[in-house]
Symmetry: none
Subunit: 205 residues, 4 copies
DNA sequence: GATGAATGAGCCTTCATTCAT
DNA sequence: AATGAATGAAGGCTCATTCAT
């Protein structure tokens, strides 16, 4: 009697194990045997569900990307459409979601970037993700800035998000999401009309 | 007597080969056999000069870090001490030196970050490097901003530098150093007194 | 489900292959590749079962030691407790058991000794073995000789056993176990009271 | 101006280094690089003087064999021809010469035996050595015992010599040459006419 | 669906040997 | 005579993958 729907159980279980192993020993030491042991399954099963190690790696990367995308969309969904400052901050908060700051997720991201450089599928995935952040930011900024300026500021905010994230990831003290929000809000205050902040104040109250 | 002083020739030759291989096939496929072949030497020589693959990797990382440090110092040396804006821009230019934007260097940096997470020696090296950027920025900013504010702005600039660099590295179109300078100069203009820019104008003329 | 209980099959199979290879090409040429080929398994399996070549070597040495110990105990078990001469001869016969004279076993012993000098674990194993022979001999001799004399004679018999064995191992004509028994029995006749031999005669009849 | 007669200096120097290295790290870890370093010469020189590692090993073995032969001959030369017991003891003393009990010599012997099993040249050398001991013993014994008996006793003495030597080599407490002489003298007393010992007493006085 | 024994290619490393100097 | 840089084959080991159960 074969258990049905084991996909739903095994796949996330293994993806989580990959991140845990990457956290503990690094991507370069993440063997199928170790991942299997961490997930309490046999190494052979990875082939069964993912068609090989590469499939598992790819699925893990997709999972990380989706989690980020979900975080941002969840934050945006909770913010009024008129509150442009709030929406920009929501995008920032989504990128600094506690889950994204988890050690295993952070290390998986770092490994992901290095790995993606030589893996067309992952590279494209990552590029889509990168453009999505920019597109989210631009959408809001265009409502209050000329297109060209909106592009410019969007790139600034995106750089601040990724830069703060990266520097925190490489720092023993970790990522300080409050400081991230403070730096980026300060940036916004100097780029956007003051009225938007008054509006934001009123809507948040 | 055998050839002497080959250290000076072989070590840079092998370090360069590492970066070339990382560029071509990725860090995870950079075997000593391939590195040796790329450098036109036998694989065994790596042990002779670096005591093993790890020694070569470490030496490569140190080389990359030193090159960056040198770029920044070179740019700073060419800028007048009174020209605070110019000095901040020099730091930015140093970080976006053409050599740092070379594909093989970019990929080595990415690999370096992921690898350093699980390699205490490299982690410390990388951390020193990270703090140095902040310290360079802070030194200039403190001359015109209150300490606390200088710290805050230094973190912003550092984040912009690393963020723009990272996003460019992950982008098929590469890193646009002119745009980087524009974004960061724009940031500075909104953080620093206008007189500093007038002074900069005069000194650069 | 995969085949279970292969330990019981593979381990002795590989240990036997080690001895065969040592016999054929010598300890210094016994590579895991050759051992694997001899056992008709892949070289990787040695890691699976023994954790590495050293583990296999160690297991082989233990096996050789245990076989010797077993031979002696088997011979002793077949001899009446009162028949002291018979028991001493049983110990000798155990040491010259046909299995111990097999070319592959002989060469493994020789390699073992040289190797054990620089391998603490094996050295201790070998030392325990060496003391056990002495202890077996002493136990019987003390029943008919003063303690000090029993010690002295035990050392003589042990030396004769090992000396005859060694000289036979290094001799193209091999080990002559009948001669061994004759030489040692002659030694005993000159060290022990004649009545013991009369008793032995009667009990053997 | 090439130095002449360096053979006389370099060869013994390297042979000694082999034994020292075998003592320190074991035969299986005695690389030419390590031997060269120990002898304070470059690794390449081994080829120059011995035509390769094997030549050096072979020369070392020959050296060990010759030293033993010399020890025995030296002891015999100091003993009166009529003193048969004394001459037999001289042979024993030669075999337990302090130089033969040196740790590096002991370990070289052990390695030698294991290695000789698969090296025809060394095997023959070692066999000649083995026969020489027997022949020395037999020559003396035949003067007082029937041929067949002399053969038998010679084998007993040879076995005692090698057995005591081997057991001492494998024992952390080392080889006790006084005990060796005591055990073998005891053996002789029970195999040879008492008058020979009286004669020995008188001649030694 | 799941196991883990088994494979064999590929890795890093060691090492005897060669050779330009 | 002597060096030691350089080679490249061979070693032990790791690991993704396969497959009988």
């Amino acid at each position: 009697m074969p258990k049905v729907g084991m996909d739903k159980v095994r796949k996330p279980q293994l993806i989580k194990a990959v991140m845990q192993v990457v956290d503990e020993v690094g991507f370069h030491s993440a063997s199928v045997a170790l991942i299997g042991r961490t997930a309490n399954v046999s190494p052979g099963i990875i082939n069964h569900y993912f068609g090989g190690k590469d499939g598992l790696i790819e699925a893990t990367m997709r999972s990380v990307l989706q989690a980020l995308s979900l975080s941002v969309r969840r934050e945006l969904a909770q913010t009024a459409d008129e509150d442009i400052v709030g929406r920009l901050q929501a995008i920032v908060r989504g990128n600094f979601d506690p889950h994204q700051l988890d050690s295993s997720v952070v290390k998986t991201w770092l490994a992901f970037w290095a790995y993606a450089m030589h893996h067309p599928v992952l590279f494209r995935l990552q590029h889509v993700n990168e453009k999505r952040l920019l597109s989210h930011l631009r959408r809001e900024l265009k409502r209050v800035l000329p297109t060209e300026r909106a592009d410019f500021v969007a790139k600034g905010i995106a750089a601040l998000i990724d830069g703060i994230w990266l520097r925190g990831a490489l720092n023993p003290e970790g990522i300080d999401s409050d400081l991230a929000l403070a730096i980026i809000t300060d940036y916004l205050e100097r780029q956007l009309p003051a009225e938007l902040f008054d509006l934001h104040q009123r809507l948040s109250a």
